[in-house]
């Protein structure tokens, strides 16, 4: 007989994370064939941070309703505002009021939200814009008493009247000072809505809803329009030459990417008034790398993550790399059993004292529980967490919770 000592220690680098792509007796020792609710940050096997559900106090959910979106934006008045959207509600938009005590207050005027669909939003020129796969885009500047719905429409009359068409979209973003809407939903006033799964609309350069200092006065004019008959700098394109549909959008600095189910289209600003963008399909084939999960994508600065049929990829300007690694099959298998839209986010930290740049993928299981896969960009490994009795209802986000007492609004002003 001979003695042995087998040491498990990541002496040659970080722990490897989940490994299901080989039999469990031949994977390298720093990997695990099965794990749950551990975090591998800084080369330690640590039980994951406690998940605290906030049921009371300032940041409990507004009216105890399901939340389909949350975030913070910086308004043109110099304030940070934290907001949420209620799922499937006629009056869904809330702002975190400073108080004291802090509380959620309703900001009226928003279009209703769709049940079970995450809200897409973008902050542009100090105004928050949002849409929820219905034929409406709403906006709020952080100061007006109410939000404005239907900021995107054809024609010149605001609010739109018979003969005009309003539209919203599944995805909203900003590129080269234009607002872009992808996968649009369009509805003639008084008519039925139509979904355009290959359509992109964009506003004129410097979409400006203000006139004479009044929010909403400039809508439908040469200063704030999506109608190219009013301003040639606005426009629309249908990507009918691509054999698939739009499933996401990422604006990675100087170039944007429209994600399709089997491909990716690059959107490049041209600087030309009548044709401000060129759309180049990186590939347009019956099968190819694309994005299958519209809300499983996430972006952080000049990089994003998308989920294709066969792999998970990190997308950077002019560069795409697989990151599924040794956990790929486990992730794709669980995605195949997902109930409803998956949700994802990229966060640089959980809080100021815990820096941990990660991609988080939340997979709803039969509307009763969730599986979460975490990818660490620094360590290039995957871990698996679970929520046995909870599922995610909106896209997680890093939000601002500060504020100056007595200001009445959730923001804090930085002079």
């Amino acid at each position: 007989m001979k003695t042995f000592e087998i040491v498990y220690s990541p002496q040659e680098g970080p722990w490897g994370g989940l490994h299901v792509q080989a039999p469990p007796n031949i994977i390298p020792p720093r990997f695990t064939p099965a794990m749950n609710d551990f975090v591998l940050r800084y080369a330690e096997l640590r039980s994951r941070p406690a998940f605290t559900t906030i049921t009371t106090g300032a940041i409990a959910t507004p009216s105890n309703a399901s939340v389909s979106g949350i975030g913070s934006f910086y308004s043109r008045g110099g304030w940070w505002h934290t907001f949420t959207f209620k799922d499937g509600d006629a009056n869904p938009f809330y702002e975190l009021n400073n108080g004291p005590p802090q509380s959620w207050i309703t900001i009226g005027g928003s279009a209703a939200t769709s049940a079970g669909v995450p809200v897409s939003w973008a902050a542009f020129r100090g105004v928050l814009y949002w849409t929820d796969s219905l034929a409406h885009v709403s906006a709020w500047d952080g100061a007006a008493a109410a939000a404005i719905t239907d900021i995107a429409f054809t024609g010149a009359v605001s609010p739109p009247i018979a003969g005009q068409t309003t539209f919203g979209s599944r995805f909203i973003g900003e590129l080269a000072n234009h607002l872009l809407l992808a996968y649009t939903v369009e509805q003639p006033v008084g008519g039925a809505a139509t979904i355009y799964r290959q359509r992109i609309r964009w506003s004129n350069d410097g979409f400006e809803p203000y006139l004479s200092g009044v929010f909403g006065n400039n809508l439908g004019t040469a200063g704030a329009t999506f109608d190219s008959t009013i301003n040639v700098n606005a426009g629309v394109v249908d990507m009918l030459d691509a054999p698939d549909v739009i499933t996401g959008m990422m604006m990675l600095g100087r170039v944007g990417y429209i994600l399709r189910s089997n491909g990716i289209t690059e959107v490049s600003p041209t600087g030309k008034g009548t044709a401000p963008f060129t759309f180049n399909h990186l590939w347009s084939s019956q099968q190819g790398i694309g994005n299958l999960y519209p809300f499983g994508t996430a972006q952080y600065g000049n990089m994003g993550v998308l989920i294709s049929t066969e792999q998970i990829y990190k997308l950077e300007p002019y560069n795409i790399n697989p990151i599924g690694g040794t956990a790929r099959d486990a992730i794709l298998t669980d995605l195949n059993t997902a109930s409803g839209p998956v949700r994802a986010c990229i966060v640089p930290m959980f809080s100021f004292g815990y820096i941990y740049p990660i991609y988080m993928l939340f997979i709803n299981q039969t509307n009763t529980s969730s599986i979460i896969y975490i990818y660490s960009f620094e360590d290039n490994n995957w871990v698996k967490w679970t929520m046995p009795t909870q599922y995610v209802t909106g896209l997680p986000s890093m939000v601002y919770l500060g504020g100056n007492a007595g200001t009445g609004r959730g923001g804090s002003k930085y002079a």
Partner: protein, 158 residues
Amino acid sequence: MPESGGAFSIINSQLVLVPVYDTGTSPHSYLGTYGASQLGVPSFNDSAQGSSYSFRKEEVSPSRVPTVRRVIITYRDLGTVAITLTLSGTNDSGAVTTITSPSITLGNAAPTADILTKFIDLELTAFRPQLTINRAANAGPLSIVSVTLVGEVEDTTL
């Protein structure tokens, strides 16, 4: 411009919030967070969910049956935590054999954050032994730096 330690103070007022619906005994919507508070390090003791980690099945000596006799855990002291260790493997008859330790306490009530070592005697004779570490919900914060399996195995005969 308000600052904190040279950084914009907004940075230390941010928190990742996760909108969830809880289907437990009192179904309800919540905003949840892994950050616990806007400043500082989160807690690593989840009160509702345990943790588990399995190492690879160890081919100590191909086609030979090893005996694991001791597990040595080197860990960071974040406070007291209760864990169990499970060794599993297979025998000549193709059956799975396991042994689970009683509850083991690591750490100090007043955490030192230092690296400590614990020796646990746990014996299993089986092909390809595999160690699994389990921490139950609310059992304390666990942080392992390294693990060592100690035992013996038959010499290979030529």
